[in-house]
Symmetry: C2
Subunit: 218 residues, 2 copies
DNA sequence: ACCTGAACACCGTTCAAGT
DNA sequence: ACCTGAACACCGTTCAAGT
């Protein structure tokens, strides 16, 4: 069920290698799994240790606190997120910046919907408040720069309604995407009469409405 | 510092009334305060009991679990939220539905920014998943109906760009508002170069951009 | 009817001691 | 250098016993 690393060469039952192959890695994976099973709050250092087959104190050789473990988990989740976003943009049409923005938004939403626990760990402010998260910050800065470029490209091509401030458009777009992802995560959609299967279609319409409001009249 | 109810008629020090005046009420207030001090996760039944001057088991006469207490806290917070929203709409111009929508959004955001812990308890899906929250559901349904009416009024007055689907506009608007409130709560704005004092102005520009994209061209 | 206080099974975290 | 296992101070929750 678990214990992905190490082939366990010991012939006795209960191999229990005194020195774990890569405990740090195994703890992060266990924590990710715990988050999937019961949400971020269900991640416990003790349970992760248990699943790694290790004593309760062992994780603290690798993470100074539960928060530090959660930060490592967030960084791993962010890495996967980033990979998926990049893939979605890879096969989006070049030279159509607004189309690409829409793709980006939809990929963002889809990943958030399919990995709610990981998405919550990445995005919720709690825990690792500050800027200890070098990787997280870098990734985020890159995504921000990407949307900035795409909007600038659209503006340069005269595709935007005159008078639209780029930074405002950027943040409005992000708030829309994050809002939709969060509404889904926080189970708001049933109240708004949107069934789970309809969320993605709804999101696409929302993006279209936003982008149509942004573009220059024909 | 605490213990708002009961005047304490006992002449001895440590009044410790065996039967607490309104323990339920006092526990909810203590929990709200704990949330303000350390966020939703910092709310503990034991600490609330301690602040109420009561034994660890006592709260369970009034709430069957921590979740039930949190639900009561959410309902109280929602009540306050609702009151403030209503006040904001009271002095907004009648007959200008889009203006009123903007007011609504700004009031929503301002309350969320000033009461982050309470807002998080109300809006985060975790804990009281289902529809145990009769009051919460009712309040929410009312706010949803309100935005629906305002949009319908705008459409009836020909203020909306033709082809705009009302439900899409409604959900897009909500996602924008919720997204901005959440970005603030989850401390995303610094990454986007928006300083705390600038958030409200930024939000207003975002609303204007959205609403301008919605209105019929002159 | 409401509260106490001890109990149980959990946490996160520390630290001497083992290998 | 890394892990164990006991310990400490916390939780949520239950339950007999008190008033």
């Amino acid at each position: 069920m678990s214990r992905p690393a190490k082939k366990a060469a010991s012939p006795r039952r209960r191999p229990a290698p005194y020195h774990h192959g890569d405990l740090r890695r195994v703890l992060i994976d266990a924590a990710l799994q715990l988050a999937v099973e019961g949400g971020p709050d269900a991640v416990s250092v003790r349970e992760a240790a248990r699943r790694a087959g290790v004593s309760p104190g062992a994780p603290f050789r690798h993470f100074e606190s539960r928060d530090a473990l959660m930060l490592a988990v967030a960084e791993e989740a962010q890495r996967r997120f980033r990979t998926e976003i990049a893939a979605a943009l890879a096969d989006a049409p070049q030279g159509a910046p607004l189309q690409r923005l829409k793709r980006l938004g939809l990929a963002y939403l889809r990943w958030a919907a399919r990995n709610p626990a990981h998405f919550e760990i990445i995005s919720t402010g709690r825990a690792f408040d500050h800027d200890r998260a070098a990787d997280l910050s870098r990734d985020n800065a890159e995504m921000i720069a990407m949307t900035e470029q795409l909007l600038a490209e659209a503006a340069a091509k005269g595709q935007l309604r005159p008078g639209v401030d780029l930074k405002t458009a950027q943040i409005t777009g992000r708030a829309l995407v994050y809002g939709l992802a969060r509404m889904n995560l926080d189970r708001h959609f049933p109240r708004w009469g949107v069934r789970p299967e309809a969320v993605e279609r709804m999101a696409e319409q929302a993006f279209d409405l936003f982008l149509d409001g942004l573009v220059a009249p024909a």
